[in-house]
Each structure stands twice: as C-alpha cells, then as structure tokens.
C-alpha cells in the first residue's frame, strides 16, 4: 500500500507488509541464501525424508492399484464414488488459494500478497498434481486416460461433451496449465537475480537457462507486466470456474444431496476456505523455520484469517441452504437425505464437519486469537479436516442410501484408500520441501517494490545501479 506517498500526511495505521531495516541487497540475500545454502539443514532433511516416505507409499499403492484394479478400494455399489473423488475435490479446492492470492489480489492491488503469492502458487500446482491423480486412476484403466481428450481417434467417437466429467477434464487441465505458466512467468525476474548472485558456474548456467535471457531491461519489464496482468486476467475467472465445474459433477446428477443449485458458489467459497487454511498450515511453520517473520508478517496472517472467516461464513450459509431446501422442496427423498445425513449411521461425520468448519473458525472473530499463531494454525488444521469431511458427507452419505432401500449399503474404506490419501499428502509435502529449498520461495523483486527505498523516485536509478541485478519492479501497489 502506497497511500502514504500518495496522500501526504496520511499515515497508514496498519503495520507494514515488510519488516524494518531491509535494503535491496539484504532482502535479496535473505531470500536467495535459502537456495544458495551449501549444506542441508537437519530439520529440512528429516522433513523431506518423512514426506518422501509418504510419497513412496503413494507410488507403491498406485503400482498395486494398476496391477489389481480399483477393487482394492472400498468403493462398491451403490457407493461408486468415495475416497477417490473426495480426495480429488479436496486437493483441487486447496489449490484455489494460490490462484486467488496471485491473480485476484493482484488485480485488486493488494500488495500484501507479494510475499506469499509464489509460495501459494507452488502449492496450487502441487495440489492440482495430487488432485489429478485421483480421477485418472479412478477410471480403472489409467493407461487409456488419453481417451478423455477429444482427438480424432480410431473409435470414431468424441467424448460426451454434455457430461460434467468431460468439463472437468478441461477445467482441471486449463487450471494446471495457466497456474504453471503464471508461476513460471512470475519466477523469471527472480531466476535472473539468482543467476547473477550464484557463485558456481553450473548454478549460473541452470538459472540462466531458466531465466530465458532476462536482463532487467525496461522493455523486459514492460512486457513482463503486460504478460503477468494478462495471465492474472485469465486466471481470475478460473478461480470461479474450476470449482463450479467440479461442483457440477454432483449438481448435474439427480442424487438427493447432490442436485442443488447452491453448489457452485458454495464449492468455490469452500475451495478458497480450504486453500487459505492450507497456505497457513504450511506458511506458519515455514515462516518460523526460515525466520521469515519480517516478510510474512502478522498482517499477512491476520488478513488470511479474515479471508478464512468470510469464506467460512459463506460455506456455513451453504450448509444452511441445503438444510432449508431439503425441507422447503417438500421432496421425500431430499428430506430423508438430510435426516440420514444428520442422524443416520454416518451422522457423527456431519456433526464433526459442523464443528470443524463452522464452530471452531468463529474464534477468528477475536483479534487476540487472530494474532496468536498457535491458534490460527490449529484453526487452519481444523478447516483442513473439516473440508475433507464436507466432501465425505456430500459424496458418500448421499450415495450409500439412495432411492432404493434394497441397494443401501455402508461404505468402508480399505487400507489402500488411506495409503493413497496419506500418500498424496506425503507427495505434496515432498514437492513443497524441494520447492522451498531450490526455488526462491518469496518473490524477491516484488518484495523490493514494497521497500520504502523503491518509493523514492529520484533515488531509484542509483538503487538499480548499486545493488540490483534484476532491477526494480514497477510497483503493482501504486
């Protein structure tokens, strides 16, 4: 926020989005040193090892799944969709915070996003990778998954374009592509900074290739800014569309508990809710471990808590509407579904969901608790669990007691359901660990734009010559 320079005399009462005492050089070093560290810290190695064990568990489960087929999961008629789809929706939802932070907050000129956007975008990418695994494997014959894409095949057939599952393929693959592009383009100026501050030749070569000849030229910045804004414009509708389409997977079906018009907005809010919870879950420990308190400040934590509170209320509204409509519709099946959801054999899951997603996050109304890292972390963990439960409640509990009582059946997950789910968490964390160690996790140049030094126009040139290989980014916040 640069109101201070624009409106002389006005003092922003909020704490700054960057700690005091930094100049361009020390800021670069602070972030780049994590990458250029000569050794691997014990904590990082231990964390990576644990996460990688989880990833190995995932790979083994996938191997066994491909050999034996989806029968190793607990899915069985009438519950044809279970952990596979729950986990898919859960992971896709988690990805949404990254896009929201990087695209929507950029367009809304929220400069506090600068320190968390790369990190959140990386999270988006990794979450989408985990999400994509599930529907791909859930087809049962993953080696013919390319049939999902429309191409002139020897079967003389197109996929069914009227099916929301088909829309899903496009939504998720577009989302993955745009997120990857957005992330990479945002990285280019920093990769150039890394290239210029690297000591070893091979490091310079690698970063140099990745930086694609970035010299910090005025023309480069001009094009960069246009490209970045265009991509932000492209990503913004994706924040809304991707999870809307995921919700169509259910809403277009006629199963009571799925066939609801409130699903798209309620799913999108839930996705952002889950995404911010995950950003906090990962951001709080990383901030502490790498001493980034000056860059990811309490103001960030507070802002994210507020976003969670707001989206959580929208999700709560969604739950209320489901309840209301099942009564207001006067439809026997809808009413039965709701009763079954609350007091049926899985009823405890519903009440657990209400506890995790609706009751616990209300502590964020209180400023004292919003500033308490332990409490914010705990609340975000509750939300992570709650959002998973929400999908369980929607998917499994609507299916296990459908129209025909003769086909009712309880769903029991198998050990492979769990090993796949926890395996993807391991896989996600593995990628996260590698990311924070080998890529500058905070955008160096965007942070520089937040420094007081960069606000002084006359001195800008000096600053560029003095310490800035990458150059000063034009400010998004002004």
């Amino acid at each position: 926020m640069a109101e201070a320079t624009k409106n002389k005399g006005y003092v922003d009462p909020r704490p700054p989005v960057i700690g005091p005492g930094y100049d361009f050089n020390s800021l670069t070093n602070k972030i780049a040193d994590i990458v250029f560290m000569r050794h691997f810290q014990k904590g990082w190695l231990f964390g990576l090892a644990v996460a990688f064990l989880g990833a190995l568990m995932l790979f083994n489960t996938i191997g066994y799944l491909v050999l034996k087929g989806v029968g190793i999961w607990g899915n069985s008629v009438p519950v044809g969709w279970a952990f596979d789809i729950i986990n898919f929706v859960w992971w896709i939802g988690i990805g949404h915070a990254g896009t929201l932070i990087s695209a929507v907050l950029l367009l809304l000129r929220q400069s506090w996003r600068n320190s968390i956007n790369r990190f959140a975008e990386a999270m988006t990418l990794f979450a989408v990778a985990c999400a994509g695994l599930f529907p791909a494997l859930h087809t049962g014959r993953p080696w013919v998954d390319y049939w999902l894409f429309p191409y002139p095949n020897t079967m003389g057939m197109w996929p069914n374009f009227r099916s929301p599952l088909m829309w899903d393929v496009f939504a998720v693959s577009t989302y993955a592509t745009v997120s990857a592009l957005f992330w990479y383009i945002g990285l280019i100026p920093d990769l150039a900074t890394m290239r210029d501050s690297a000591k070893e030749k091979w490091q310079r070569m690698i970063f140099g290739m990745l930086a694609m000849g970035w010299r910090g030229d005025a023309r480069h910045w001009h094009r960069y800014e246009s490209a970045y804004l265009l991509l932000a414009g492209l990503s913004t509708p994706l924040v809304l569309s991707v999870h809307s389409i995921v919700s169509f997977d259910f809403a277009v079906g006629i199963i009571p508990g799925w066939h609801t018009t409130v699903f798209p907005p309620y799913f999108v809010a839930g996705a952002i809710y889950a995404g911010f919870a995950m950003v906090l879950t990962i951001g709080i420990p990383v901030r502490k471990f790498y001493h980034l308190e000056d860059l990811i400040t309490m103001r960030h934590i507070r802002n994210m808590s507020k976003v969670m509170l707001a989206t959580g209320l929208i999700v709560g509204y969604g739950y209320l509407m489901e309840l209301f409509i099942s009564w207001y519709s006067g439809n026997t099946y809808e009413m039965f579904m709701m009763k079954n959801r609350m007091f049926g054999p899985y009823g405890y899951m519903y009440w657990l969901l209400i506890l995790c997603n609706i009751i616990v996050p209300q502590v964020l109304w209180i400023k004292k608790y919003r500033e308490n890292l332990k409490i914010v972390f705990l609340v975000s963990m509750f939300i992570n669990v709650g959002m998973w439960l929400e999908r369980f409640v929607i998917i499994v509990m609507s299916l296990n007691r459908d129209f025909l009582p003769s086909s009712w059946r309880m769903y029991k997950p198998t050990v492979f359901d769990f090993s796949m789910f926890f395996g993807t968490i391991g896989f996600f964390l593995t990628l996260m660990f590698l990311f924070i160690r080998f890529v500058p996790m905070i955008p160096i140049f965007e942070m520089k734009a937040l420094l007081p030094q960069s606000k002084v126009e006359e001195k800008r040139e000096e600053a560029v010559e003095g310490s800035l290989p990458g150059g000063v980014a034009p400010q998004f916040g002004d």
Binding site: Y151, N153, M155, G156, M157, R195, D196, G213
Partner: protein, 219 residues
C-alpha cells in the same frame, strides 16, 4: 562478468520454440496415422493356415456360394466355420489322395476339427451378429472384400470402431438387394442414392440414433 552463453544461444532458444511445436505436432500426427496402418490393423496381411485353403479357387474359379460353407450366416451371430465333413463332401472324390490335403483327411478320420486361424477377429466386447447385417442388405464383400480374389485370406478393412461407425452412421450407400448379398463383384449402381433410401425403408433400418447407440454393439 563474462557472458554466460554465446550469442548463438538466442537463435537456439527461438528455434527450440518452433522445433518443440513441430516435433510435438509431428509425433501426434505420426501416432494418429500409425494406428491406422496395416502394421497395426493387420489389414491386407495374409494369414498362414494349417491347410492353405484358397477362397480364390473355391469362390472365384469354382463359383461356390458363400453359404455352402458358412451355413449359419443368415440365421445366427456367427457365419459358421464349415466342419471337415463339408470339405469331404467334395474331397472324398476330388484330389482324394493328394498329400496336400492329408490334414483334412486326418481330421475326418480322427474327428478332431482343423484349427483354422481366425482372420476377422473383433474384440470380445463388440457383439457382432452376421444375420442382422446379411438380412438387412449388407453384402459379404462390403466387409470382407473380394474374397474371390484372395488365395489366402486377409481382411481388407481396419475392423476399428470408426470403420463400423462409418456405416452405422450412414448405411444407405452400401445396401443391396437380398439377391445380391453374396455377389462378390457387386458395385453400387449409379442410382444408389435413391435405391439405398428405398432399401433402408424396405429393410426397416433403424434410425442413426439406434444404430449408433452404445448398447447396440456393446451390451
């Protein structure tokens, strides 16, 4: 600091964009076409058989009707592979002692059928029925080609689903009269557009929606 990369790196970088697109497109195009070649579909590749039975001789030279051997083609799903007895109808008299036909005689003596190699092998999930096709005016040569010119048997079609659908989506151009069904040299007459429509009506051929419904062929 010296330059990291030589000047030519710029050209290489630009070239790599074009090359990447060309290679990716080329590979895709190759795969799409490769899957339709006889190398994959086995079309036009003659199969070895235990006895080198020649359709060219029996159909082309001798003029035996298809249904003399493939007896059930008009009534059942399978056209029917002739029993050794059918061969022996003639070969107990003709070429009765040639060593070439010893396998047939051995089969006749022992009662063990000859193990022919299947040439037109559809996947098991496709429920193909010969009788419906023959009775609705699809002639033998439409799918099997000019059998009367084949010394050894091969398929002339890819047997891929897009080939099945090419008729199921538009059957009229290949429909013929019942009297022409086994005619090997049948060719669509000049007024097939009119005739096809009439024949489709006469045979009461269902709409494209029914013909291309999933469960018509996959049950």
């Amino acid at each position: 600091m010296p330059q990291l990369f030589p000047r030519s790196a710029n050209t290489l970088a630009r070239l790599s964009i074009v090359l990447g697109a060309v290679i990716a497109g080329g590979v895709l195009l190759f795969i799409l076409n490769f899957n339709r070649t006889p190398y994959v579909t086995q079309a036009f590749i003659a199969r070895e058989q235990p006895v080198q039975f020649s359709h060219k001789h029996h159909v082309g030279d001798d003029g035996i009707d298809c249904r003399y051997c493939h007896t059930t083609v008009e009534q059942t799903a399978s056209a029917g592979l002739p029993a050794t007895k059918t061969c022996m109808n003639c070969h107990s008299q003709l070429f009765a002692n040639v060593p070439y036909l010893e396998i047939v005689r051995e089969s006749w003596r022992s009662g063990k059928p000859i193990k022919w190699t299947r040439v037109h092998d559809l996947p098991d999930f496709a429920y193909f029925n010969h009788s419906i096709h023959v009775n609705k005016g699809v002639g033998c040569s439409t799918c099997h080609g000019r059998v009367d010119l084949m010394p050894l048997m091969w398929n002339t079609q890819s047997l891929q689903m897009e080939w099945c659908l090419s008729c199921h989506r538009n059957p009229e151009p290949i429909l013929r009269e019942q009297s022409d069904i086994t005619k090997m040299d049948w060719e669509a007459p000049a007024d097939q557009a009119v005739r096809g429509r009439e024949l489709a009506k006469k045979y009461n051929i269902q709409s494209t929606q029914v013909l291309t419904s999933c469960s018509t062929c996959h049950r």
